[in-house]
């Protein structure tokens, strides 16, 4: 009995365990100091937590991994471009960026939600492509519209040709404004306390949200759309709302992410966000249908240990840091592929099991009838 439980635990947590083992093997190879690693983890937790947590609500609503959080990221970046142009700095700059990008995020989230309602059963691939499509629109606006149709006063932000935002926008003005708001240093490790507090607020919000009527409706819709609709729950609207909330949270998440980094690659910063956040969540033991706040924490730590360590470990192993870079790309995509396959496989297995139960029930019937 106990043995069975242990086995079940290992199967259910195969991915995190695999990563722990990999990390234990790779850390000594990389030869990085413990203090350095802890500092890195603190930074990266602060950087990514908000983004990863923004994935949770669509999972509750049964819409899978929302690759569409890049839409929110783009909205956030537009907000940052404006505050940088207006040279509004510090915490007020960041807050202003959040407020002005929020309507954009809501509109984009709405579009995404409606599109996904038209693609039930293949939400993930659709949200992924949607990210690319909106990226094109974003480029159109930022690269060709800004400085022409949308006024941008600061010449330093514009390309030499006079319109379009440069590839890199310096966010010096808001760099670390949240992370360093409440300075805290333990040993030699800086802890971005204010960011963590904000993440804490989000966690409380998510926990609270699950207990709301809307949260309950999302759970119902996520498990069985037909039953939910029969009970009078507006299924389509509920699904749209889950995507809108996720997009808005991702928008805030991207702004927090960029205030930590301090520079924005106008045309690239958002692109990989979806993939990295999703990979991190999955590494933490989440699946397409089930994810929790601890999954996000554990996932970011494990995934980013791999991230920090693999180039150095690669160098020690084969004398080339490049291989470690490719290794982490491989891990990011591979883990998503694995999670998706496991999810599909599990559904298949469950069907199989239901059938086996039926068969057993029947064999008992027929054996009874033989006796009689």
């Amino acid at each position: 009995m106990n043995n069975k439980n242990i086995k079940k635990f290992f199967i259910n947590n195969a991915v995190p365990i695999m990563f722990i083992v990999l990390s234990i093997l790779a850390i000594p190879l990389a030869g990085l100091s413990g203090e350095y690693l802890i500092q890195e983890m603190m930074t990266r937790l602060a950087r990514y937590l908000f983004l990863v947590l923004s994935l949770l609500i669509p999972i509750i609503a049964g819409m899978g991994l929302n690759f569409g959080i890049v839409l929110g990221a783009m909205a956030g970046q537009i907000g940052l471009i404006f505050v940088t142009d207006w040279s509004v700095v510090g915490l007020s700059g960041m807050t202003l960026a959040i407020i002005i990008s929020m309507p954009i995020a809501i509109i984009l989230g709405w579009i995404a939600g409606v599109a996904l309602n038209h693609a039930k059963g293949r939400e993930m691939v659709t949200s992924y492509i949607l990210g690319f499509f909106i990226n094109g629109v974003y480029q159109l606006v930022v690269l060709y519209g800004m400085g022409r149709i949308i006024p941008i006063s600061s010449n330093t932000m514009l390309l030499p040709r006079g319109y379009g935002i440069r590839n890199a926008v310096d966010l010096e003005n808001i760099r670390g404004c949240l992370d360093k708001l409440i300075p805290l240093k333990i040993g030699n490790v800086n802890i971005p306390l204010a960011t963590f507090l904000l993440v804490g607020v989000l966690c409380v919000f998510i926990i609270w949200f699950r207990k709301t009527k809307l949260g309950q409706d999302m759970r119902a819709v996520g498990q069985d759309m037909e039953v939910a609709a029969n009970a009078g729950i507006p299924v389509e609207r509920t699904r749209v709302l889950s995507i809108v909330i996720s997009t808005v949270l991702a928008c805030i998440g991207q702004i927090i992410f960029l205030q930590n980094i301090g520079t924005m690659n106008t045309y690239n910063s958002h692109e990989q966000i979806g993939m990295f956040s999703i990979a991190a969540l999955l590494v933490g033991g989440a699946s397409v249908a089930k994810a929790s706040i601890p999954n996000a924490f554990i996932g970011i730590i494990l995934f980013h240990i791999m991230f920090v360590v693999s180039p150095r470990a690669g160098k020690t192993l084969v004398g080339d840091a490049q291989i470690g870079e490719y290794f982490r790309v491989f891990i990011s995509y591979g883990i998503i592929a694995l999670a998706l396959v496991l999810h599909a496989w599990r559904i298949y297995k469950e069907k199989e099991r239901a059938r086996m139960m039926f068969r057993e029930a029947n064999s008992s019937v027929s054996s009874e009838s033989e006796k009689g």
């Binding site: 207006w86 040279s87 509004v88 007020s92 700059g93 807050t95 202003l96």
Partner: protein, 124 residues
Amino acid sequence: MRRWLIRLGIVVGFIVICFLLYSFGKQYEIFVDNKTVTISETTYEAKYAAVYNIDDSEETEIKLKKRKKSYVVGPNHVFVLKYVDENGKDVEIKKEFNLSTDRESLIVNIPVLIEGGSEWLIDK
């Protein structure tokens, strides 16, 4: 109805917050010049090396014929200038000023300030 009023209130509140954030978070570039300048046909000659600070920040030394750059955030500021006059006496000039958001970068002309001219702070 009540709900819509509350919602309207919140939207209005957000817009107000936006303006507040904008005015209190806006950053201005301030150039401090210690050069001889001519403003409205009056010529102010730069005579002294000086030390200044804005809003209790670190004191900055500015020599003759030099320009320094500082940043300030928000509308209200205090400019403090210290120098030693020809009599060897320490002089301290303290000026309060506030900025409206339509200004981007400004110049403080130390000679004008020392002479007591009114246009010591001008747009660049």
